[in-house]
């Protein structure tokens, strides 16, 4: 059952050399694969085409056709409405991702390489936090955050994404550090390095790939979060998911602006996916999805 967790650092490998498949099957296979590419891209086509439509184009009969006249008015409206929330989302996601990654690295190191009695129980108890439905903590959580005096909007959301990010970042780092060669740890021990020395000068410098995976993961899940955003912010101090849903569910049915907005709100995570796709897959392998 640990399969997805142990696959972390080896994202899907390249295919082994194919041994002469039967020709007919080869063609059928490519056809099927291409058919699914079309199916998967249909929503992207609709988003693009509709986002460039003017108001006159929005008739049901022309729903699937490209615009008669390309208009960027929808993009302009969406951009204006979403811009402030995009800034807030960046201000929330970056510290949340960085802080939870460092906590995860510390935990992962201890739980994989410098264990104490009961470490396995601690790990399991931490892991449970990854799976809970946040509805089961929401009401006391609101009281807690008020009690701590954390303002709603970005500050609250940073605290929440750090706190509930700890389980997954710990899991990813723990699996990564479990693969660090024993010899390195032994060498450190022989040289008399203590725990912090070993972590700081031997383990951390090796942690680049794991940090990439964890940062991508935390960035994406915090960026895409809607549940915490709904409970802990409002339309004036909320992140982009709040602003986008507000725009899209408005009475005006401004399809071109909402679809342009959906594209704008997805650009940062799509850029991460395109640039760092290989590690993105690694993150997916890491076990679970927050939220």
């Amino acid at each position: 059952m640990s399969a997805p967790t142990t696959e972390l650092t080896t994202p899907v490998e390249a295919a082994p050399p194919a041994h002469a498949p039967r020709r007919g099957w080869g063609i059928a296979r490519i056809t099927l694969l291409l058919f699914f590419v079309v199916v998967v891209l249909v929503p992207a086509y609709v988003l693009l085409v509709t986002s460039f439509k003017g108001l006159g184009d929005a008739t049901p009969a022309r729903a699937w056709l490209p615009p008669t006249e390309w208009s960027t008015a929808g993009w302009a409206r969406a951009w204006e409405l979403l811009l402030p929330s995009m800034g807030r989302t960046f201000a929330m996601v970056i510290p949340a991702a960085v802080i939870s990654s460092f906590l995860g690295a510390m935990n992962g190191f201890v739980l994989a390489r410098w264990r104490f009695p009961g470490a396995d129980l601690v790990f399991t108890l931490l892991l449970f936090g990854m799976f809970i439905p946040y509805q089961a903590v929401m009401i006391p959580l609101i009281q807690l955050m008020q009690g701590l005096g954390v303002p709603s909007g970005v500050p609250s959301l940073i605290v929440l994404h750090v706190a509930y990010g700890i389980p997954i970042t710990t899991l990813i780092f723990r699996n990564y550090y479990a693969g660090v060669p024993d010899e390195l740890m032994e060498a450190a021990r022989v040289d008399g390095a203590g725990m912090l020395r070993t972590f700081g000068s031997i383990v951390l410098p090796l942690s680049g790939p794991a940090f990439v995976v964890v940062l991508i993961w935390q960035f994406t899940s915090a960026w895409n979060d809607y549940l915490f955003a709904l409970f802990f912010s409002n339309s004036r101090n909320g992140p982009v998911t709040i602003a986008l849903n507000f725009l899209a569910s408005g009475q005006l049915q401004d399809y071109s602006a909402s679809m342009a907005g959906a594209l704008i709100a997805s650009v940062p995570t799509l850029v991460v996916y395109i640039l760092l796709g290989r590690w993105f897959v690694g993150g997916l392998m890491a076990g679970s999805v927050k939220g």
């Binding site: 899907v12 935990n107 986008l244 997805s266």
Partner: protein
């Protein structure tokens, strides 16, 4: 004793901050939430007394809540079966290596990077229930390609409307299941292939008796991961159908509605029920992880 303490105190101190945070934010909050659900805190004011399981009895006597639990079941079945079938099929098609594999993988996986709120914007349009002349979205597409009989009311259907919400969810996560299975296929030692061939196994026998059984643990992991996401469905419903739509009600949306009404005890009780449903799936998984840890 002192030596032991000295050796395990530092690592324990290093994880202590996280333990405190998770202890408070996960276990502490769950405890307080359960406590709230047992009180009479039905409005903005503080609770005055414990009423035991009254709120729970009320919920299970409420048709709307039963309906939303049934919805959750339908959604989960459709979502799990859909992602597993499609994800597995994609992995199988790609497994031997195919020209342009990287491209196919990238396309199948990209929806995963998008938020449910953003994809909800387009799926709300695709799953528009208008039919005939007013049809847009998929209903219009069916008409254009001559498959009019496929036109339907999507998420407004009184009983199976919730299944329509599973379509975008499948669209978003089938690629993830594909990645899991693909890693599984590639992780099977080549010797197993060779051995089966030497024994004269046909292509189908190789899959049926050698490769598929090896993928069973992956399938189980996929079910647990996709299943626990499924039980928490919320964003997609808010984006596509909105919170007030009866046909797509699930416990998570009802929890939000009760919260906005100020019925904190009821809202907390729904959260607790949802936690129990997820725990049925997750706790056996965690117990087995714990056993593996112990044996490390």
């Amino acid at each position: 004793m002192n030596r032991g303490l000295r050796s395990w105190a530092p690592p324990f101190l290093l994880v202590l901050p996280s333990l405190v945070v998770v202890g408070v934010f996960v276990y502490g909050m769950i405890a307080i939430n359960v406590n709230t659900s047992l009180t009479d805190r039905r409005g903005r004011g503080p609770a005055t007394q414990y009423v035991g399981f009254d709120v729970y009895r009320e919920l299970f006597a409420d048709d709307t809540f039963i309906y939303s639990l049934q919805n959750l079941l339908i959604y989960t079945v459709v979502f799990i079966v859909g992602t597993l079938l499609i994800g597995f099929m994609w992995a199988w098609l790609l497994e031997r290596g195919v020209w342009g594999e990287g491209f196919f993988r990238a396309v199948y996986l990209f929806p995963m990077a998008v938020s449910f709120i953003a994809s909800g914007v387009v799926w709300r349009w695709l799953l528009n229930n208008a039919q005939g002349d007013r049809a847009s979205g998929l209903n219009r597409l069916f008409e254009v390609v001559g498959l009019d009989f496929l036109q339907n009311s999507w998420w407004t259907h009184p009983r199976f409307g919730i299944a329509a919400i599973a379509l975008p969810a499948i669209w978003q996560l089938a690629g993830y299941v594909m990645a899991l299975f693909l890693a599984g296929f590639r992780g099977i030692p080549r010797e197993l292939h060779e051995a089966a061939r030497i024994d004269g196994a046909s292509e189908w026998q190789l899959y049926r008796h050698v490769l598929f059984p090896q993928l069973r643990p992956i399938a189980l992991s996929a079910i647990i991961i996709v299943g626990h996401m499924s039980l928490k469905v919320f964003d997609l419903i808010m984006a596509i159908a909105g919170q007030t739509n009866h046909t797509t009600q699930v416990p998570a949306t009802q929890m939000w509605i009760e919260f906005t009404r100020g019925d904190y005890a009821k809202s907390a009780a729904i959260g607790t029920i949802l936690l129990l449903v997820v725990a049925v799936l997750i706790v056996p998984y965690l117990v087995s992880t714990y056993r593996q840890e112990r044996n490390r």
